[in-house]
């Protein structure tokens, strides 16, 4: 049993226990013999009842009793059957007295009930007794849900029951949990009185205050409160959050390094050295069903149906970000002519969230493409675009060509009803008085973020980002046990702040030295030395082709797979501890230059990204064992297989892995074999 210290036994106790042990042992042996020989006499049954009273965990005895009941059931005499079942219920009650957490006992009772026996009053009485004995007994709560379903007691009545229980003691997480389950069901089927979520939620906020303001150390009400906030803010229907190209964009394709640019613009991008044009759709949640029927692409360029792919590191068929590649090289294009492409999303049903909600509002994106120079195959020996990450090789950009302040796409976001903002606003007033209470500060931070999320884009109201960043910094000191949690949240919010507008982005945008023209091919977003422990805001970064995240504290790049245009990436001087952490890179088809020097690859025995990366261990992928064995040769397979998993599908020209525990000579020669396109390793020509 939990929480009880173990004490050594006294001599008298030892002999008493020894006798007990012998008695139980003989009971169990006799029982097993009866079971083996299928003896279901009254004597045998009584023996099993005795056994279960002492040891309700003896599961075979419960099986035996069911067999006995089946054996002794008569077809004609329903009275004797009833008494048979009564006997079983009694045995269960006795067993539960010994151990009210016995899985076997509770299941046996369910089995009896499923035969159509017992009165509902009896069961509810039993449950009330257990509630008094231990209000958190999850077996009893599970059994309660079983009984109420069997006897068709309404969710509304059960809701009232949770109020009764909470009234006795608000610190009943089990009751709050049950409340969330019941309300979810009532909302989903739009039951009478529950079709207007807002009224119900407003009442719930008031109701939970009694729990959270009485004792702030008690967690029971806080998680329920967090759930209420989520219910207030969340948008069930999937929506498009951003895309690349954006609506109204002008995309230029340059076949090779050349020619004139048009000033730095996020809307009007230039892609060099490529003949494929990606179209990226970024939704607010994971969806399935993005295909050529649900997303219709119209253009004189396209002759065949397009295949949309979900960007999932798990090889899943649902993803938050989807991409399709238009193969411009195959099309008969006139140089310098502008072609229009129109994308219609969700005009026919089919795009679904994992909760089964359909795509919110049909939308359209139109952009233009122009090929300046024809694509030519790269000359052998040609290096990647960027060959250095040094400060001197970059110069700041001082302005964007566009004047439009908003960077995020102008997609139709349905206007949030006022009550959401009012509810959150109201909650915020309750949390203004902070004292040094960790959970209150954290809740205030979450509420302010929720408020900003709900505020319409064009609202000039100042957002609360600075205030929340400050709260997280304070929380890191107030609750050092969880400081990395607050740090992650801080990083996410900081990134959102930086990427939310052109003004905020500009200080981080630089031109690379060789750029003879001003176009986005040579713009590097430099986010170094920001103490970032986590990456985010990818929906605002789809346009980025070169990214420097060096000198931060990143351990993972979850979500980075959305950045399909990425060709040069610097992750040096971070905290990447495993190759599996680089999983998202496998989906970056354009990646040519990668710097992961000075990390912790090979330093950790535990891999926390293992099951978050598609691999044979997660049963989501077939591993190219044959090729691996050939390349690996005599080297340690266990050390290298993850590196092979990540790199074998990449076409890198530059790679820097120096300064990692795993990067010895053996590894270097292995990786060179895995990457035939590699021209530069650790800053040295091959």
């Amino acid at each position: 049993m939990h929480g009880r210290p173990r004490k050594p036994l006294k001599e008298e106790d030892e002999s008493v226990l020894s006798a007990k042990a012998e008695k139980l042992h003989s009971l169990q042996s006799q029982f097993l013999a009866n079971h083996q020989n299928r003896i279901y006499t009254k004597e045998a049954l009584d023996l099993s009842a005795k056994l279960l009273e002492i040891n309700p965990e003896c599961y075979t005895a419960w099986n035996y009793r069911k067999l006995a009941v089946q054996h002794n059931l008569s077809e004609s005499n329903s009275d004797s059957d009833a008494s048979l079942f009564d006997q079983e219920l009694k045995v269960v009650e006795n067993a539960l007295k010994k151990n009210f957490k016995s899985y076997g006992a509770w299941h046996h009772r369910k089995w009896v009930l499923s035969k159509g026996h017992s009165s509902i009053d009896n069961e509810l009485r039993l449950l009330n007794d257990f509630q008094k004995a231990d209000a958190r007994n999850f077996h009893a709560w599970n059994y309660r849900r079983f009984v109420t379903a069997l006897m068709k007691i309404s969710d509304e009545d059960e809701l009232k029951y949770t109020e009764k229980v909470i009234g006795v003691n608000f610190s009943n997480y089990s009751a709050w949990h049950n409340r969330s389950v019941l309300l979810s069901t009532l909302f989903k089927r739009k039951a009478e009185g529950f079709s207007h979520k807002e009224k119900v939620l407003q009442e719930e906020y008031k109701y939970v205050h009694s729990a959270i303001f009485t004792d702030s150390d008690d967690q029971s009400g806080w998680f329920y409160h967090l759930w209420l906030i989520d219910q207030t803010v969340k948008n069930d229907a999937p929506l498009l959050v951003s895309s690349w190209p954006s609506h109204g964009a002008n995309i230029t394709l340059n076949g090779n390094n050349s020619l004139h640019g048009s000033g730095l613009s996020l809307l009007n991008s230039t892609l060099s050295d490529t003949k494929t044009l990606p179209v990226i759709l970024c939704f607010n949640q994971a969806v399935e069903g993005v295909n050529s029927s649900t997303v219709v692409v119209k253009s004189e360029l396209l002759k065949e149906d397009l295949v949309w792919k979900p960007l999932s590191t798990n090889n899943s068929s649902t993803a938050q970000v989807w991409v399709v590649y238009l193969n411009m090289g195959n099309m008969k294009l006139q140089l310098s002519k502008t072609y229009s492409i129109e994308i219609n999303i969700g005009h026919s049903m089919g795009i679904l969230s994992s909760n089964g909600y359909h795509y919110g509002a049909p939308s359209q994106i139109t952009f233009e493409v122009c090929v300046q120079t024809a694509y030519t195959e790269p000359v052998d020996g040609q290096r990647g675009k960027l060959t250095s990450w040094k400060d001197n090789d970059f110069r700041k950009i001082d302005h964007f060509e566009e004047s439009n302040p908003a960077v995020s796409a102008d997609h139709h976001i349905p206007t949030t009803s006022n009550w959401c903002m009012e509810a959150i606003d109201e909650e915020i007033t309750n949390f203004q008085d902070l004292s040094d209470c960790k959970i209150r500060k954290l809740t205030l931070a979450r509420l302010l973020i929720a408020l900003d999320l709900l505020s319409p884009q064009h609202d000039k109201r100042k957002n609360h980002t600075e205030e929340v960043l400050k709260l997280y910094t304070e929380l890191m000191k107030l609750d050092p046990t969880h400081s990395l949690y607050y740090k992650d949240e801080h990083s996410l919010l900081l990134l959102q702040q930086i990427t939310s507008s052109r003004e905020s982005l500009i200080p981080y945008c630089h031109y690379y030295k060789d750029a003879s023209e001003t176009n986005t091919s040579y713009v590097c977003l430099r986010l170094q030395n920001l103490s970032l422990s986590r990456m985010g805001s990818f929906e605002n970064l789809l346009w980025v082709q070169m990214l420097d995240l060096s000198h931060n504290e990143l351990r993972s790049i979850e979500g980075l797979e959305a950045m399909q245009l990425l060709s040069c990436l610097n992750l040096s001087h971070n905290k990447f501890g495993s190759f599996t952490a680089l999983g998202p890179l496998r989906l970056l088809k354009s990646l040519k230059v990668l710097n992961i020097s000075c990390n912790e690859l090979g330093s950790h025995s535990i891999d926390t990204r293992r099951y978050l990366c598609s691999s044979p261990l997660a049963h989501s992928e077939v591993f190219a064992w044959d090729r691996f064995e050939i390349l690996c040769g005599s080297y340690s397979a266990t050390k290298f297989w993850e590196a092979f998993l990540i790199f074998e599908s990449l076409n890198l020209t530059d790679l820097n892995i120096a300064g990692n525990a795993v990067a010895d000579e053996n590894f270097a020669s292995f990786i060179v074999k895995v990457l035939p396109t590699l021209k530069l390793l650790n800053d040295e020509e091959l």
Binding site: H2, G3, L17, S18, K20, A21, E22, L24, H25, Q28, L32, H35, E57, Y59, T60, N63, K66, H107, W111, R136, F138, W141, N142, R145, S171, Y173, H177, N178, S180, V181, D218, Q219, S220, F223, Y224, L226, D230, A286, T313, N314, N315, S316, T318, S354, P480, T481, H482, L484, Y485, R555, S556, I606, T608, R609, R610, Y611, L612, S614, A618, H619
Partner: protein, 247 residues
Amino acid sequence: MGELVAEKRLRYILSIEKKKDSFESVVMEHLRMNGAYWGLTTLDLLGKLDTVDVDEVVSWIISCHHHDGGFAGNVGHDPHILYTLSAVQVLALFNKLHLIDADKVTNYIVSLQNEDGSFSGDIWGEVDTRFSYIAICCLSILRRLDRINVENAVKYIISCKNMDGGFGCTPGGESHAGQIFCCVGALAITGSLDLVDKDLLGWWLCERQVKSGGLNGRPEKLPDVCYSWWVLSSLIMIDRVHWISKG
């Protein structure tokens, strides 16, 4: 100092194996198969697996094997999915999996999957997400995961997801660290962790740490060292273990 402690642990485990007659031992006779798993893997971690008579253990395990393919907790008891996993795990530990008919064991487990994707513990029909984990883990060891309906199994587990991001034993069941370990483990093995709200669950798991530094299994309950395993390994699988103090 570290050596002394390891020595003590070794002696403790070997002693309980021998003390079959104590009350503690008798009352847990029916789940000896589980005990074998926990005890033997601990010995292996301590590097002392060779102190055990492998043949004796293996022949005892085989004597618990039933015709339907399942394993019992001890000789004379009924087969159950709980002990089937422990048996397979111990045989795998000793590299003796070839001694059993893997297809037969697989068929036993496959027969326990229900239409909604859930798994029963045995023919008597108790459903619990623990059994989902057991089925998936066991078949993964036997390399026959494709014999069950993985999609439905995952769907059922997700239907047990709660408001706090955690998982219970059945749909609507309260979040509990042990159940969470099972559900997260099953989703990990089937490559479905994208269906977990890692931030929400990670935070709930972090909050299991109480003032003394120990971990509890759910809010407002007492800490216990067993929860260190369920909570920490869950945090590791969803890559949020850095959110909890190392102290």
